[in-house]
C-alpha cells in the first residue's frame, strides 16, 4: 500500500459519508488510520486541519500534486487515537487543543501539556460529554527544557506595553542570543465551537465573522461557502464577485498596515504613518460602498447584504488608482533606505523545508517558497475567471515577507480592477434551503488559507462548526525564525508574521 499513491487512490474504497460537500469524507478504522500515518510519512500531503466532532476525529488532507482534498475520519470510542504529530508537526497544537476541548487523547504525542486550557475554566473538557470538573488550581505550565549555564529567562506577555493581542512568549537566552523561544497562547479563548453549536445560521454567521476581527470578510466567506456546500446551494454570480471584491479590499487594508507595522517596529514610524493613511482611505471607501469600515457581516450564507452602487464603483476605481501610485512611492522609500533594509534582510529566516513540514500557507509560507493559495488551488468563483499570479519569495526572511505583502498588494489592486470590470448583474442572495449536511470551505484570507468545517442539523441549525485559522501552522514557525537572531529582533520577526491570537485561541 505504501509508495507513490495519490490521496484519492489511497482513500478509494473506504467508506464515504454521503452528505459531505464539496470534498469527500471517508470513515477509517484504526488500521486504515495507521496506514494513513505510514503513508503520510512517505508522501507530502498537506494536513489542512484536525478537529473532532462527538466521538470522531477528522483530519483534512490535500494532495498537492493533483489538488485533491479529502477528510479522513476515525471513530474513537475509547477517546484516544494514534497521533499525527510524528508525521505532521503542525498537528501538535491542534491535537493538544483537541485534547483540552474534547478529552480525546492523541496516543504518541510527546507533549503532555494542555494548550488552550490554562486551568481557569469552570469546567474541563468543555465539549465532551460528560464534561470534566474544574481543576482546583490553575495549571502549573512547565515550559520546554533548556540546558546550559547561567542562562536567563525573559517572560514577555500576555500583557504587553503596546495595544496588541495577548500571548506569552518565554525566551531563554544567554545575553542577547536566544537559546529557545516558546509561545503560550490561549488567552483569548472564547469557546467558539460551543457557542456555535445549536445556533441558527444567521447568528452563527455573526460569530464566525467575529472570530478574528481583521479577517472578518474571510471568515464570513468561509462560513457562507461551507453552509452553501452543506446545503448544496449556490450563491448568485454577482454575490460571488462582490464577495471577492470585499475579500481583496480586506487583504489590501491589512497588508498595508502590516508593511507599515514592520517598519515601525524597526523604529521607522514614517512608513507606518503613510501606510495608515492609505489604509484609512480603504476603510473609508469600504464604509462608503458597503456601509461598514471593516465590511463586517456584509457576506451572508446565500449571498451578500449590500450591493455596490455606480458611485461606489467609481470610488473604488479612484481608490485603486491612488493606492497603486502611492504604494509605489512607499515601496521606493522602503527599497532605498539602507538602514531599514539592514534590519529586515536576513532577519528571522524560515527555511522553505520547515514551512513545508508545518504546511504553513499565506504570507509566511509564500515568503518561504510555498506556493499554496486557496484562490488558485481551490479556485472558488470568481477567481477561476480572473487573471492573477501567486508570487513567492525564496529567502523567507523579514524582507521577503514585506516584499510578499507588497507583491500581493499589487495583485490585489489588479484584482479589484478586474472585479469591477467583469462584475455581472443579477440578484444578491439566494435563499438557503433548510436541510442537514456537512460542508467544508477553504478560503484565502489575508493571513492564508482558512478552513471552516460545519455540520448542520435537518432543522438548518449548526450542530458543529470548526474554524481553523491559518495561524495554527504559522505560529510554530516563529519559534524557529528566531534561531540565530537576537532578542532585540524578535518584535520585527513577530510583526512580519502577524499571526492571529484570537483566531487560534478559538
Amino acid at each position: 500500500m505504501l509508495g507513490n499513491t495519490t490521496l484519492t487512490e489511497f482513500l478509494d474504497g473506504l467508506r464515504t459519508v454521503p452528505q459531505h460537500q464539496p470534498w469527500p469524507r471517508h470513515l477509517l478504522d484504526e488500521r486504515a488510520w495507521m496506514d494513513l500515518l505510514h503513508q503520510l510519512a512517505e508522501s507530502d500531503w498537506t494536513l489542512l486541519g484536525l478537529w473532532a466532532d462527538g466521538g470522531e476525529v477528522h483530519a483534512a488532507l490535500r494532495d498537492e500534486e493533483d489538488g485533491a482534498v479529502a477528510v479522513a475520519s476515525l471513530s474513537c470510542p475509547e477517546r484516544k487515537y494514534p497521533s499525527l504529530s510524528e508525521v505532521r508537526p503542525g498537528a501538535i497544537r491542534l491535537e493538544r487543543a483537541l485534547r483540552d476541548l474534547w478529552g480525546i487523547t492523541p496516543v504518541g504525542l510527546s507533549d503532555p501539556r494542555p494548550w488552550l486550557d490554562h486551568g481557569r475554566w469552570p469546567v474541563s473538557r468543555p465539549l465532551a460529554l460528560p464534561r470534566g470538573p474544574a481543576p482546583e488550581t490553575p495549571v502549573d505550565y512547565p515550559f520546554l527544557p533548556v540546558e546550559g549555564e547561567a542562562l536567563h529567562i525573559i517572560p514577555v506577555g500576555p500583557v504587553h506595553a503596546g495595544v496588541i493581542e495577548p500571548g506569552h512568549f518565554r525566551f531563554t537566552c544567554s545575553g542577547e542570543s536566544v537559546v529557545r523561544l516558546e509561545a503560550r497562547l490561549g488567552y483569548t479563548h472564547k469557546g467558539v465551537e460551543e457557542l456555535m453549536a445549536g445556533k441558527p445560521l444567521a447568528e452563527a454567521a455573526k460569530l464566525a465573522a467575529r472570530l478574528s476581527g481583521d479577517s472578518t470578510v474571510a471568515y464570513s466567506l468561509a462560513f457562507a461557502r461551507a453552509v452553501e456546500a452543506a446545503t448544496a446551494s449556490e450563491a448568485p454570480p454577482r454575490a460571488h464577485w462582490l464577495r471577492a471584491l470585499m475579500a481583496e479590499l480586506e487583504r489590501i487594508a491589512n497588508h498595508l498596515l502590516d508593511v507599515g507595522g514592520v517598519c515601525n517596529d524597526a523604529a521607522f514610524p514614517v512608513m507606518l504613518a503613510h501606510c495608515t493613511t492609505l489604509r484609512e482611505e480603504v476603510l473609508r471607501a469600504n464604509a462608503a460602498c458597503f456601509g461598514h469600515r471593516l465590511l463586517m457581516d456584509r457576506i451572508l450564507p446565500g449571498g451578500v447584504s449590500h450591493d455596490l452602487t455606480r458611485e461606489g464603483g467609481a470610488t473604488l476605481r479612484k481608490l485603486c488608482a491612488t493606492l497603486a501610485q502611492r504604494l509605489n512611492i512607499l515601496v521606493d522609500i522602503y527599497d532605498d533606505l539602507p538602514s531599514l533594509q539592514d534590519r529586515t534582510v536576513g532577519t528571522g529566516i524560515v527555511r522553505p523545508a520547515l514551512a513545508r513540514r508545518f504546511g504553513a500557507g499565506g504570507v509566511v509560507g509564500r515568503a518561504s517558497m510555498q506556493g499554496g493559495d486557496a484562490r488558485k488551488a481551490v479556485a472558488y468563483p470568481p477567481y477561476d475567471e480572473l487573471d492573477f499570479a501567486v508570487p513567492t519569495q525564496p529567502l523567507g526572511d523579514v524582507n521577503a515577507r514585506i516584499w510578499q505583502r507588497i507583491e500581493e498588494l499589487r495583485e490585489s489592486l489588479s484584482l479589484v480592477n478586474q472585479l469591477m470590470d467583469g462584475m455581472p448583474g443579477g440578484p444578491l442572495t439566494r435563499p438557503i434551503p433548510t436541510r442537514g449536511g456537512e460542508g467544508m470551505a477553504l478560503v484565502e484570507g489575508f493571513r492564508g488559507e482558512i478552513l471552516l468545517w460545519l455540520r448542520l442539523s435537518e432543522a438548518g441549525k449548526v450542530v458543529r462548526c470548526h474554524p481553523r485559522d491559518p495561524s495554527w501552522f504559522q505560529w510554530p514557525l516563529l519559534e524557529a525564525a528566531i534561531e540565530n537572531n537576537i532578542v532585540a529582533d524578535f518584535p520585527l520577526c513577530n510583526k512580519s508574521f502577524n499571526c492571529s491570537y484570537s483566531g487560534v485561541d478559538l
Partner: protein, 315 residues
C-alpha cells in the same frame, strides 16, 4: 558676585529648558510623519502628571532603587549646569572639565544601570546590559574627542575651549570636522535617540533606556524622564559649546551680552532639535550589534582627528 549669579541663573535655565527641547523634537517629528503632534509644552504636563502620582516600587528593590532617581537627576543637572551655554563667566565652570563631565554622565549611567538590575526583572537587566554595552564604546569616543580638542587648544576646560574658538584660533580644519562627527554620533547614542535607541517604542524587547526605568513610576519616573531630557539638552549644548560657540558671552562682557547669548543658545538648540528630528525621521534603528560598528566608527573618527592634527602640522 557676577559669576555666582550667572551660575545660579544658568542652573535654573537648563532644568527649565530641557523639556521644551524634547517637546520641540517630538513635535517636529510628528509633523514629519504627517501628524499634528502635541505642543512643545507637553513634556512639562507629562512631568507634572507623573509628579502627582504615587510611586510604586517593586517588592524586591533595595534602597538603591529609591535614591537612584535623585542621584541620576542631580548628576545630569550638575553636568548641564557646569557646561557654559550663555557665558563662560560662571562660578562652577572650573569645577569640571570635559573629562569630569563625561564622568558625571557616567555616574548617572552607572546608577541607572544598577537600578535596572535592582528589581530583579529580565527587562531591567536587558536595558542595563545594553546601556553599558553602548556606553563602553560611546564613553571612550567622547574621551577621544576631548583628547583631540585638548591637543588643539591645550585645555580640557569647556570654557577655555569656547574662548579658544571665539578668539579665532581655529580655522577650517579636518580634525575639527572629524571630532565634531564623532561627537554627533556619540550624542545620538548617549541621549538614547534613533538609530541607537527608540524613546517612543512600546516593544520591551527592543528597549534600552526605557527598559532600565521600566519599574519606575510617579515622581521617581518623573525624575528619570527629566534627567533624560536634560541629557539630550546637555549634548545639544555640548555640540554648541565646542563647535558653534558664537554668541556665548565671556568674562568682562556687559550684562546685555548675556541676553544675546541666551537668544543665540535658544536659536541654536531649536535648530539642532529640528535637525535631530529630521535625521531621526529618515533612519531606522540599527541592529543592536551594529552599534558596535557605529560607535567604533565614532571612536576611530576621534582618533583620526587627533592624528590628523600632526599630519596637518607636518604639512
Amino acid at each position: 558676585m557676577i559669576p555666582l549669579l550667572w551660575g545660579i541663573l544658568h542652573t535654573l535655565l537648563v532644568v527649565a529648558a530641557a523639556p521644551w527641547a524634547t517637546g520641540l523634537t517630538r513635535r517636529v517629528k510628528a509633523r514629519l510623519q504627517g501628524r499634528r503632534g502635541a505642543s512643545c509644552w507637553q513634556p512639562y504636563r507629562d512631568l507634572w502628571r507623573l509628579l502627582q502620582k504615587d510611586s510604586v516600587i517593586a517588592d524586591s528593590a533595595s534602597w538603591l532603587f529609591h535614591i537612584t532617581p535623585y542621584v541620576v537627576f542631580v548628576a545630569v543637572w550638575l553636568a548641564a549646569t557646569i557646561l557654559p551655554t550663555l557665558t563662560t563667566d560662571m562660578i562652577m565652570t572650573p569645577a569640571a572639565d570635559l573629562i569630569a563631565l563625561v564622568a558625571l554622565l557616567g555616574v548617572a549611567r552607572f546608577f541607572t544601570a544598577l537600578a535596572g538590575l535592582d528589581a530583579g526583572t529580565a527587562f531591567g537587566g536587558l536595558g542595563a546590559s545594553r546601556e553599558m554595552f553602548i556606553a563602553s564604546l560611546g564613553e571612550p569616543a567622547m574621551l577621544m574627542v576631548t583628547f583631540s580638542l585638548s591637543v588643539l587648544a591645550h585645555t580640557t576646560s569647556p570654557a577655555h575651549l569656547v574662548e579658544f574658538v571665539l578668539a579665532g584660533h581655529v580655522g577650517l580644519e579636518v580634525s575639527v570636522g572629524l571630532a565634531m562627527g564623532a561627537l554627533l554620533m556619540v550624542a545620538l547614542a548617549e541621549s538614547g535617540r534613533i538609530p541607537i535607541d527608540n524613546p517612543a517604542t512600546h516593544l520591551e524587547l527592543t528597549m534600552v533606556h526605557e527598559a532600565m526605568v521600566l519599574e519606575y513610576s510617579g515622581r521617581h519616573l518623573a525624575l528619570m524622564e527629566a534627567a533624560a531630557m536634560m541629557r539630550q539638552l546637555l549634548f545639544l549644548s555640548l555640540i554648541i559649546c565646542l563647535f558653534l560657540p558664537w554668541g556665548i558671552a565671556r568674562p568682562g562682557d556687559a550684562a546685555p551680552w548675556l541676553l544675546v547669548g541666551l537668544a543665540a543658545w535658544i536659536a541654536k538648540v531649536a535648530a539642532l532639535s529640528v535637525v535631530l528630528a529630521a535625521y531621526e525621521s529618515w533612519i531606522a534603528k540599527m541592529r543592536l550589534f551594529r552599534i558596535a560598528d557605529f560607535l567604533g566608527g565614532a571612536l576611530l573618527l576621534a582618533l583620526l582627528a587627533t592624528i590628523f592634527l600632526y599630519v596637518s602640522e607636518a604639512l
